[in-house]
């Protein structure tokens, strides 16, 4: 046809690009939606944990105290975690002592190894390693126990029978975990130091007396208490995550398994994150 112009390549390109642009926007929005939903879910869960923990603490202050439940939880959590906490501490003490002694020997100051080991153990490795190993175990155990109770309607039954599930189940676990973890950390500190002193004695001939003298000269009460305070906060975080995840299990036994795994992941990340900020805080004090 004589009057027909050939298609303008620019216009064609623009017309062709228009739906592509729309698709791109839509794709972008769709890819953002799960992200925003995840962010929202994260803040909802964080808020839920804080609210549940605060509620538990507030209710724990009212009669009846539930000291029996608290004592049971403290013994159960402590007893179950004692062996793994000490085992990890012994090997951590052995390894860091060997590493530091090897490094310091290059400068001929291996006799100062006790100073470095005690600070590393008290301020950092003791609380963090204990929280990561024991915490994962305690947190997942709490989620599994409460999650099973949730799917078998036992938590509903506690409420239906006139009791308060938050006070009965969350408060004792929260307090027990906050108290037990520092005790385990203190034990881990001691076991780690003893193991470290023995290994440098046997490998580098550093007398035990010299090792412990440098420990006592270097470590202050603040070094020890900052680690203990950290572990108390880690304990609180672990129990909060464990209880919240357990209380919010859905989807039967499969849901319990999923929640348990999530607890380990969330608690571990929370420990690492809070460790950074707590370290900054304690160093500035």
């Amino acid at each position: 046809m004589a009057g027909e112009h050939p298609p303008d390549p620019e216009t064609t390109q623009v017309h062709a690009a228009q739906p592509e642009f729309g698709d791109m926007v839509q794709q972008e929005l769709e890819s953002l939606l799960p992200f925003t939903a995840r962010v929202r879910q994260f803040f909802e869960q964080l808020g839920g944990m804080v609210v549940m923990s605060m509620r538990a603490l507030r209710r724990a202050l009212h009669r009846p105290w539930g000291l029996g439940d608290l004592a049971y939880q403290m013994v159960a959590l402590g007893q179950r975690s004692l062996s793994i906490a000490t085992l990890v501490a012994i090997f951590a003490g052995l390894v860091i002592s060997l590493q530091f002694a090897y490094f310091l020997a290059r400068f001929g100051v291996q006799h100062t190894v006790g100073k470095v080991v005690v600070l590393t153990l008290f301020r950092e490795l003791g609380p963090v390693l204990t929280a990561l190993t024991v915490g994962a175990r305690i947190g997942s155990g709490i989620t599994a126990e409460l999650g099973s109770m949730k799917v078998t309607e036992q938590i509903d039954a506690i409420a239906a029978l006139g009791a308060d599930p938050i006070k009965k189940l969350v408060a004792p676990r929260l307090i027990a975990c906050t108290v037990v973890l520092p005790v385990l950390t203190a034990l881990a500190d001691v076991f780690g130091l003893v193991a470290g002193s023995l290994v440098v004695y046997s490998e580098y001939d550093i007398p035990l007396e010299q090792f412990y003298r440098s420990v006592v000269e270097t470590a202050t009460l603040a070094d020890f208490t900052s680690g203990i305070a950290k572990s108390a906060i880690f304990g609180f975080v672990i129990a909060s995550v464990g209880c919240f995840k357990g209380f919010n299990v859905s989807g039967g036994t499969e849901g319990v398994g999923r929640a348990t795994t999530e607890t380990v992941a969330i608690a571990s990340v929370a420990i690492c994150l809070s460790d950074f900020f707590l370290t900054k805080l304690f160093l500035s004090l």
């Binding site: 039954a157 409420a159 239906a160 029978l161």
Partner: protein
């Protein structure tokens, strides 16, 4: 007379799944009302709403004049002391013995009782459900039917004013079913208890009910006495009743 329990214009959804849309139901003091309906229609949800285990999206649930959806935690606990629930899956506490399970509501709500009185009550309730002498057993050692009956014994331990029975006879043998039915009737006769029973077992429903309510299409579509329901022309009721023939 004002009904003891009133569900008023209840809406409830789980995510996108709508359970109730404008549900209304009245339950008189001292009567035994059975709620029937297909699986997944929200019969158990209806019971849980009454004691605040779940909350409606909108609407009011009046118990003895007080709206339980607006009650603070303390008020809700006061309601739960008067209303007891028998759970579908028994919901016995695994870590406690049978005796401790039944004693649980007594220790929580009747602190004035001595240990001897608690022991006597536990023994009495176990006898009522034909399970005398199993106080020291753990729930894991019991059969499904026995667990169910222990759950019943726990629910009636405090002699509550209202008992919510969530499928009390499902999975039980005919003799145990008869025992439970007689128990529901006797709770009404001896204690004057109001019972709300959720069941699929129509024979049991006919035996225990003063009135029946049919839950379908997200609301109560028919409510009446046993004979009224048996002669109902409502298509949902007819379909449900005819399905058992």
């Amino acid at each position: 007379m004002t009904p003891l329990i009133q569900y008023q214009d209840i809406y409830k959804a789980f995510g996108k799944k709508k359970i109730f849309e404008g549900l209304d139901l009245q339950i008189e003091k001292g009567e035994t009302l059975t709620i029937i309906g297909g699986s997944g229609t929200g019969k158990s949800v209806l019971l849980k709403l009454l004691i605040g285990l779940l909350y409606p999206d909108s609407g009011a649930i009046l118990f003895d004049g007080a709206d339980v959806t607006q009650l603070p935690e303390e008020g809700l606990r006061a309601v739960r002391k008067r209303v007891s629930m028998v759970f579908q899956g028994s919901a016995l506490f695994d870590s406690l013995t049978v005796g401790e399970n039944i004693a649980y509501p007594l220790r929580e709500n009747m602190r004035e009782l001595s240990e001897d009185e608690i022991r006597a009550r536990v023994a009495n309730k176990l006898e009522l459900v034909n399970l005398a002498g199993i106080e020291q057993m753990k729930p894991s050692d019991l059969s499904g039917g026995m667990r169910k009956r222990v759950g019943l014994a726990r629910a009636i331990a405090t002699d509550p004013e209202v008992i919510l029975w969530d499928e009390p006879t499902t999975g039980l043998d005919p003799i145990s079913t008869r025992v439970i039915d007689e128990l529901i009737v006797s709770m009404k006769k001896t204690l004057g208890a109001t019972s709300v029973v959720v069941t699929h077992d129509m024979d049991s429903a006919f035996r225990v009910s003063d009135r029946m309510a049919m839950l379908a299409r997200r609301k109560i579509v028919e409510c009446g006495t046993v004979s009224q329901m048996q002669n109902s022309k409502n298509p949902d009721v007819r379909a449900f009743f005819d399905a058992r023939k």
